[in-house]
Assembly symmetry: C2
Homo-oligomer: 243 residues x 2
């Protein structure tokens, strides 16, 4: 029901059936996981974008055994990551592949995409840049994005998915009204220099591959040793990414 | 002078000239950067190891355009990472390579190895597992290593190197007497679940590639867009990895 309503609103923006389904599924999964900043509020936000091109399609511009390069070509980052995930599931890495995506924004909840790959048996690590929102812990203007790092690994009972933004809050949380702008600082309190270092390192990593603009870097690997017994070892404790 | 003394002690343990030089340079760099847990105290520690094999040599057991696999074969992890870095500098990734190392422990200050690659013009991301020392933020026994993540990127004025352990303290800091064992918890205070999620994700990532024992996963990429002006943007603020 909610899915139909979400798809209708996306269709009204001009998205085709398949793309509207990809977007609705991502937003609804974010809602179910309590990541409201990546949820249905994003449809409101899409409705405000003056230059949204719902017909734009990402393109794989280079491919070699261990490396693929993609360009969003004006498509939403969600759709670029969905196309990359589809491609990796269809042509699994033998045994590993680095994927770089230029013009890839917004990327949504990165955990969603690595979970999809882990559901297909792949190990995946994904980061993406976003507009500068975090300042250095010692002050000054915002210099790096919240630049999340997501890691998905197949495991007994379903993938384990770590998905960590380097901010105390995400910009999506601010958009959704569940965090205030002053929470857009590196997380960690007295150890905020650690989260800042990760945010800056990930920023420069992605920048080194995509130049100007926002992008994503993904590493996908074959799972060589099968499901780990991590849920057994952590019995009774909350596993990252579990609802 | 200190280097000669360090090399002598390493030679007395049976290490050849080249390996003693690699180890001494790593330990002395850690001392200079205030990472005493990865510094000369490690020579004391090596002197206590009953089954140290100073003649063991790491071996590259598989290689394809985007992927290499290495095994430590009983060599210290430092020497395995040094061999991998040498190999990547000699045969740079075209344009990216994932490297997995089994039986690769201890790995020292990961920032040292990615800096070496960044000095040679490569972008590098490196993680490695270590014995379980961090508990879940909600309690229980230690379940994951401090599993650092290091990112090195060429930049004007020298590489930017983020090197972040997921613990409030590293085990090396405890060994060196600059931290207490109760600091072996995920960093971040009220956001410690984020550091724990990263430590667990990195643990499962490496485990998926090396199975039992400790290992490392490295991604090296060509720097496609040249030095960033990050030092300009962060003028007056401390850059991660700078002394």
């Amino acid at each position: 029901m909610r899915r139909d309503a979400a798809r209708s609103r996306l269709a009204a923006l001009g998205f085709g059936d398949a793309d509207a389904g990809v977007l609705a599924d991502h937003f609804l999964d974010a809602e179910r996981r309590g990541k409201r900043g990546h949820g249905l509020a994003r449809i409101d936000w899409l409705e405000t974008l003056p230059d949204l091109d719902p017909t734009a399609r990402p393109v794989r511009t280079a491919s070699s055994p261990g490396f693929d390069r993609w360009e969003g070509r004006g498509a939403l980052g969600y759709l670029t990551l969905a196309a990359i995930a589809d491609d990796l599931v269809r042509r699994p890495p033998q045994p590993a592949k680095v994927v770089v995506a230029r013009d890839c924004v917004p990327t949504g909840a990165l955990g969603y995409w690595v979970r999809r790959l882990a559901d297909a048996g792949l190990v995946a690590v994904l980061t993406a840049t976003s507009p500068a929102r975090l300042p250095h812990p010692d002050g000054g203007p915002a210099v790096v994005g919240t630049n999340p790092l997501a890691i998905g690994v197949p495991a007994d009972g379903g993938p384990v998915v770590a998905d960590v933004s380097m901010g105390r809050a995400t910009y999506g949380d601010v958009l959704a009204g569940v965090a205030t702008p002053d929470e857009l600082v590196p997380f960690g309190g007295e150890h905020a220099h650690k989260a800042f270092a990760l945010a800056l390192g990930l920023q420069l990593l992605v920048d080194s591959q995509v130049g100007d603009g926002h992008g994503a870097v993904l590493v996908a690997l074959r799972d060589e040793f099968g499901p780990s017994g991590v849920r057994e070892r952590l019995r009774g404790l909350r596993i990252p990414g579990d609802r």
